[in-house]
Symmetry: C2
Subunit: 403 residues, 2 copies
DNA sequence: CTGAAAGCGCTTACAG
DNA sequence: CTGAAAGCGCTTACAG
């Protein structure tokens, strides 16, 4: 019989029930179900030489001897399985899942029942490949141990999560090299967009991104380049504002303490320097280290500052972790804050409002940055035209007891 | 001309160069490249009725009038483009990328050159679909604002990153419902495995996970169920140890302060209670709230505790954030630590070693938990048989100034 | 509203 | 070592 020679399974057996008894000793192993055209049992003429399950008497075009078809059993419940059970075509299952309103209620109900009964889980890979939309967004932050970026992540999640997006979260560790690597890697996932911290991609990666037509929104920095999307605030103005505040409070010998030394930290320093210069003061008191920032480091840097300039009467720490460490060290040494020395931080982390004394700092809208950057990206992805390509979310000077 | 009727592109135009001039006004829009069999230009007979680029005179089997073929131009550089340029088959490109040793050096070099010249980026979706291995691992943590889990993430990253895995990081917000939702969503990505915090999946999700044959490794808790993978330590023993230490130091009226009240917190409380009971003390001093934990909350809970029990001489806070807040509040009120009241925490966060006084706490190997859980998963994914299904990483009691 | 065909970009499983 | 065929599980783009 020609049909058996072709190795096609009997239509009634599509798809094969793994629990049903199989014919174990036939030479031709192709007793499994071809997955294409499963619902109707049709196969492409010439590709496998099978008949058509709808009209078994149809002439068979090619009947030349051929090798057994290969099988790749995945065990996964597919849209075809659901279709078979719901007695509709795979396309209708696809529609019932994506745009239920386009499907008649009866069909929809049957599909839903089949989905539940079979425990159907859609394949993200297949969807992405077929639709060329991944619903994935790559997010790059310089650190996760810094609460600042975790809150930004929350803002992103709250905006893009409800819209059905998933995230590839990458920690660049403040390294441009790692950032480039992550962008390359994430590009293989065909993300619909990127949300990145800072603006310092290499030329190569910039070209790759535009070649892949993946929109990129930059966070924390405000881009000067037209056509580049960015949401942030002026780090320099913030540094300027808090330094000015120290001067207004009467401090005459303020120092700058910083770690990590990423571009944003350096911009804060530029603000510090400008404030001193404009007020006619020296700006020689700076203790910097490229080490990653943490509380203990704040203690150490305070000691260095005091050894170098015993007359230093105020320090501006580039972030609150450092400020807290400095405060702890003052407590340890019996140095009164702010009477002997004032301490200012940056970011307004949760503990800064509660320490004794509480810490003067710049409150940054980091949740807002994430949310708005995500919103900007969402508009771009939806084909809308955002009003502004550059959103300044500002900052607030929060005066507390430490100054 | 039959060939034009079929709508097949001229072989020489495969693939179409987007910069080349196109014929703009032909009725048949199919001038784009069919992507299948591109390297050889062969098309399935009967499926589209085209000729064979290798032998143009071959007879065409079907020549019935048909609709123009559909195009789905993605613009993406594919393995076929690389193959064409490197003058090899797509399969050889695939091998040159995945297992270079199986390809002759000359071919490999040409492939590498073509990849670089074209800026080829592999498609993760296509790879996943074809290989049914996603190289993605789902990671579920209850919080990202808690530094504890961020360090666990770092351990996971350091173990699985070099092995070529990507992560879907989900924040359950301490909610079992959210955890279930995340697991469902992530399942569509066909992850090779899951790393989850705690052991409290619902029965439904447990079945779905085993149906999908995705291995799950539990972190922080130690599973009592045979066959379940877990890496953690006994939260109860840790709570017991630190409470015992307070008693040994001579404190006679210790209280327990906790927030969030997740299962692990409650296990710490069980340890606290057991220690008091075994030593013959009352264990009635507990201030609990389901609010999320933060420094400010620690201040508030300390106040509540002192109002309720002015004779309380030591508190065990379920985590260091709470302990730090309590310490700040004591400083504010002039309560001496540890002379008037002792404060103990849990986790040993960075600031606990630096505060004044420094805080006695349980040091937890959270990086280790992530790393070892990842390692366990890696073994399972590699088909190896791990020695133990349950890894106890232990904990350390770190004595400091606050007790 | 519903469905058949083709294709998304790779890899598996063979064959040579 | 290399390649042609088939298939992974969906969606797009048509047609009816």
């Amino acid at each position: 019989m020609k049909k058996n020679l072709t190795g096609a399974a009997k239509p009634a057996e599509w798809p094969v029930n793994p629990n049903a008894p199989t014919t174990p000793t036939v030479a031709n192993p192709d007793t499994s179900a071809p997955r294409h055209g499963m619902a109707t049992g049709r196969r492409i003429i010439g590709s496998g030489g099978s008949g058509d399950s709808g009209s078994l008497d149809e002439p068979i075009v090619t009947a030349s001897p051929r090798k057994p078809a290969r099988r790749r059993p995945s065990g996964r419940v597919t849209i075809a399985d659901v279709a078979l059970r719901a007695k509709v075509s795979p396309m209708t299952v696809s529609r019932a899942l994506k745009s239920p309103s386009q499907v008649l209620p009866e069909a929809r109900t049957r599909v839903e029942a089949a989905v539940a009964a079979l425990g159907y889980v859609p394949s993200h890979a297949a969807r992405t490949l077929a639709s060329s939309r991944s619903r994935v967004v790559g997010v790059l932050v310089p650190s996760l141990s810094n609460a600042v970026f975790v809150e930004t992540l929350a803002g992103i999640q709250d905006c893009l999560g409800p819209a059905g997006y998933q995230f590839l979260i990458g920690n660049t560790n403040y390294s441009p090299v790692t950032q480039t690597e992550l962008l390359s890697t994430y590009l293989t996932h065909a993300p619909d967009g990127f949300l990145v911290t800072g603006i310092d991609e290499s030329e190569t990666i910039r070209q790759r991104l535009s070649a892949a037509r993946v929109p990129v929104v930059h966070m924390y920095d405000l881009s000067q380049t037209p056509g580049e999307w960015s949401v942030g605030f002026s780090q320099q103005m913030a540094g300027f504002a808090i330094t000015n505040y120290l001067l207004e409070r009467g401090y005459r010998r303020p120092g700058f303490v910083a770690a990590q030394l990423d571009p944003r930290t350096m911009q804060r320093r530029a603000g510090f320097r400008r404030a001193l210069r404009e007020a006619g003061f020296d700006c020689d008191l700076e203790v910097l280290t490229s080490e990653p920032s943490n509380v203990g480091l704040g203690s150490k840097l305070l000691i260095q500052m005091l050894e170098r300039a015993p007359d230093c009467d105020a320090i501006f720490c580039c972030n609150d972790d450092l400020a807290l460490g400095a405060l702890f060290e003052c407590q340890r040494r019996g140095i009164r804050v702010p009477d002997d020395i004032a301490i200012a931080g940056f970011n307004d982390l949760p503990s800064s409002a509660w320490s004794t004394p509480s810490i003067t700092t710049i409150t940054t809208p980091r949740y807002e940055i994430g949310f708005q950057a995500a919103q900007l990206l969402l508009q771009i992805l939806n084909g809308e035209t955002p009003k502004k390509s550059r959103i300044d979310v500002g900052f607030t000077l929060t005066r507390r007891e430490s100054t």
